[in-house]
Amino acid sequence: MCCNMIFNPLVIILVSLVFPGIITLTKAKIAGRKGPSVLQPFYDNIRLFRKGNVFSATTSWIFQFAPIIYFSTVFMAMLFIPLGKQPAILSFEGDFVLFAYLLAFGKFMMIAAAMDTGSGFEGMGANREAFYSLLVEPAFFIVIASMALLTNHTSFYDLFNNLHIESELSYLIAILSVYIFLWIAMIENSRLPVDDPKTHLELTMVHEVMVLDYSGFDLAMIQSSNGLKFTIYGALIFNLVLPMQNYFAAQLGIFFIVEFIFAVSVGVLESFRARNKMAKNPQWILALSALAILGFLSVLIITGKIVLMN
């Protein structure tokens, strides 16, 4: 039982070590370069953990405390994710609300820490980050509401385990949900087309600029949380596409494959898509919520609330 409990987080942490590396490698290969090794971000983090810190004189204890809180929230959020038939460590009714709001708490502390430095760059990034996360939350909740409507359950584990693919409309809903989750993951982890993690021009920064003043231990924590957050969203997508299997090893294999495909597709999407105009970002993110409402209406059709067959 004890072994069971720590299995989920262990697997997710293992994948999160190589996840950013796969994305970088994909982008490099598409661009025709050789690319760093897959474990390079992991080595970078180990190196950063061993370094000293440089603080700005303007900052206070919030600046030093925020990465710890951010990492803890992401770690806690990881404890809620089931992997197929393996239940999560913490699972109760309405746990996805705690999941979303814990991540929001991490964001709050990061935004406060960014404003703490008193620099115009961080202020800009903090402002945009708050605004975009405000717009992307409804999409997440509407998708979960559609699934709750379909399966009559309200915890992650029950939701995912009772999601049966029966009619063709369920296929459409599954594809729509995966599509929306994919874009939510790209937005929350500040990837293209909303934000470019490689640019250092202030006009285009959202998330990267908030961590501009960090160094050493703190920076390592933030970067590992980024990788962890990405893997968590990959695990959510994995739960959505998992066909009904009873073999434990098969589920594990499918998990690795899904995460790998997710990382590769993130790399591909980033290489081939340009960044949106900054002013067009809000409406683009809002379109996700509109699509999620469509998914909700489809679920209403499936469950027969809207009687359309006469």
């Binding site: 409406q283 379109a287 409402i293 809207i306």
Partner: protein, 209 residues
């Protein structure tokens, strides 16, 4: 299967209000044509083949290929603007189109008629209202043409909803309508942009004779 296509059709309606480039308008129109072909095919597979071929011709060829190609040529020949801004910000338009969709679904809940096939009716009504809203918010004649074509698509769906037995007549009328509209406005646009340099409706309103 039909329901899937109908929901995808509603998704293209949402995308119409998200995008602002003329290129994506034209693409969405042709995707809508293909979806309509799928819906009509599914519905009429058990009716006489001659009607089937006519419907096929109308949706797939006219709506999905001919009209977008014509629009594209018009657009390029007159070197029209590539981005058509709307007067209402896109943010609000998205909220409004979601509200229109939800409103149509709610309305279908209260209709208790035997003749109307509800699964087509809701999205058809939403498309017609959405097309009218599209014309309202855009000022450019080209976008008005695109909005008119959206309304025609919605009317086609409505014909499937109401007259399930005899879509032949309705679709013939719609086809005639579409062809005439596109031809007339195309010719008009050609002539207008040869003489003047703008096709903005507010400036053209000042044309008096």
């Amino acid at each position: 299967m039909v329901i899937v296509l109908i929901i995808l059709f509603a998704a293209t309606l949402v995308y119409f209000f998200l995008s602002e480039r003329v290129y994506s308008f034209i693409w969405l129109l042709s995707i809508q044509g293909v979806l309509l072909f799928g819906i009509a095919f599914n519905n009429l597979i058990n009716i006489q083949p001659i009607e089937l071929i006519l419907i096929l011709l109308e949706t797939l060829i006219v709506k999905a290929i001919v009209v977008p190609w014509f629009l594209n040529r018009l657009h390029r020949k007159n070197q029209l603007k590539k981005i058509h801004e709307s007067t209402v910000p896109v943010f609000y338009s998205l909220i409004i189109i979601s509200a229109i969709l939800i409103g149509c679904f709610l309305m279908s809940y209260t209709i208790d008629n035997e003749i109307i096939q509800l699964r087509f009716f809701t999205v058809a009504l939403a498309t017609v209202i959405g097309g009218m809203y599209f014309i309202i918010i855009h000022k450019n004649i080209f976008s008005h043409l695109v909005g008119f074509l959206i309304i025609e698509n919605g009317t086609f769906l409505l014909s499937l909803a109401v007259g399930g037995e005899m879509p032949f007549l309705v679709s013939l009328a719609v086809l005639l309508d579409v062809l005439l509209a596109v031809l007339v406005i195309g010719v008009f646009l050609n002539k207008v942009s040869d003489t003047f340099d703008t096709i903005s409706a507010s400036k053209l309103n000042q044309l008096k004779d």
